[in-house]
């Protein structure tokens, strides 16, 4: 049997996570090929239905990467994103999915190293959780 390759959606803030992805690319830091990035202008704009829809559409894991608290370009977008992720985690749990499949994290400035660590860590986490039971 081939090893399970998780599909992971990363909602990334344009101002920090995307900048970090750029720096990672330029400096040759690699992240797992299991990640599909969706750029958002601010993670505060991500709504709970987007997060649930990602799982419905086949994601095995979802990660939301925002700026550090206090560094959001729109002041409090990352606080909102964190709250929405927490709500979505409990909604997922009610529906029978492990809340650990959804993660909120942040990168300071264009912190390429942390960005890559988050994505690789998430890939390992979801690999050990196994496939999304609502899809496979």
């Amino acid at each position: 049997m081939t090893e399970f390759e998780p599909k992971i959606i990363a909602f990334c803030c344009h101002y920090c996570a995307l900048a970090a992805a750029d720096v990672a690319g330029k400096t040759g830091l690699q992240f797992s090929p299991n990640i599909r990035i969706i750029r958002v202008l601010c993670t505060g704009k991500i709504e709970v239905p987007h997060l649930l829809k990602a799982f419905e559409s086949g994601a095995d894991g979802v990660v939301v990467i925002s700026c550090k608290f206090g560094e959001c370009y729109f002041k409090e977008g990352n606080f909102r994103a964190q709250k929405k992720v927490e709500r979505a985690q409990s909604l997922l749990q009610e529906a029978g999915l492990k809340p650990e499949r959804l993660l909120f994290d942040f990168v300071p400035g264009p912190g390429a190293k942390k960005f890559v660590d988050i994505l690789n860590g998430m890939t390992e986490r979801v690999r050990s959780l196994g496939p999304n039971p609502s899809v496979h």
Partner: protein, 230 residues
């Protein structure tokens, strides 16, 4: 507005799990504003149902729809919505209890070839005001004979735990009600407001018992405006 909260997912699931085509219908007015049964909450509940059914390998269809007001025929008399209701085996209404009942009556009148089953997705909680983002509090119980002119615009029926007309009682302490430290004593607020208005004398006469006949308990109340009817 009418303020409601979504029912726990397990309760909703147990209402619908024996059906194969489910329609979730939101309401675009009060419950949209109090973030319990609007478009976003319809999407959330529908996603949760699909995820839960797929996990349990059940082949169930979940459709979504909206009505601007489920308490009014005018906003439900829409061919697309009626068609979706016809196709469904069960409908979850995300409106308040009024909407659930009105939609049940409406769709069973319009659709005659099969009975339409509509279940509530929300617990209708109170008539209240939006105090801050994500905060609502009860303000009126619809007593049918408003006394706010005597009480400085603060309702003693709703906001006093004992619905006293002559207050405060001995449980008022530092502006808070004896039921808990978070709840303002309504009569403390009334006295402060009347004092500011220079109308404290208003509460000197003993208020006699309230006429509760216009209130609930005598069956559903009804208003007919003859001038609006042809």
């Amino acid at each position: 507005m009418i303020v409601a909260e979504r029912k726990p997912f397990s309760e909703i699931l147990s209402m619908v799990e024996d059906y194969s085509r489910i329609l979730v219908v939101g309401c675009g007015s009060c419950v949209t504003i109090c973030m319990a049964g609007g478009e976003e909450e319809v999407k959330i509940l529908s996603s949760q149902l699909r995820l839960a059914f797929k996990k349990n390998k059940k082949d169930i269809e979940v459709e979504e729809a909206m009505a601007l007001r489920q308490c009014d025929d005018e906003y439900m008399n829409n061919p697309e919505l009626i068609n979706k209701v016809k196709k469904a085996d069960i409908v979850i209404s995300m409106a308040c209890g009024i909407g659930v009942q009105h939609a049940t009556a409406f769709f069973n009148r319009i659709i005659t070839d099969k009975p339409i089953k509509i279940v509530p997705g929300l617990n209708t909680t109170f008539m209240g005001a939006n105090l801050d983002v994500g905060v609502w509090e009860e303000r009126c119980v619809g007593c049918g004979d408003c006394v706010l002119e005597k009480t400085g615009g603060i309702c003693p029926i709703t906001r006093c735990a004992k619905s006293l007309l002559n207050g405060p009682c001995g449980g008022s302490s530092n502006g808070k009600c004896e039921i808990n430290k978070e709840t303002d004593c309504a009569w403390h607020l009334i006295i402060e407001r009347l004092e500011a208005l220079g109308e404290l004398d208003r509460i000197k006469p003993i208020e006699m018992y309230k006429d509760w006949r216009p209130s609930h308990d005598g069956g559903p109340r009804k208003i007919i405006r003859e001038d609006m009817r042809i």
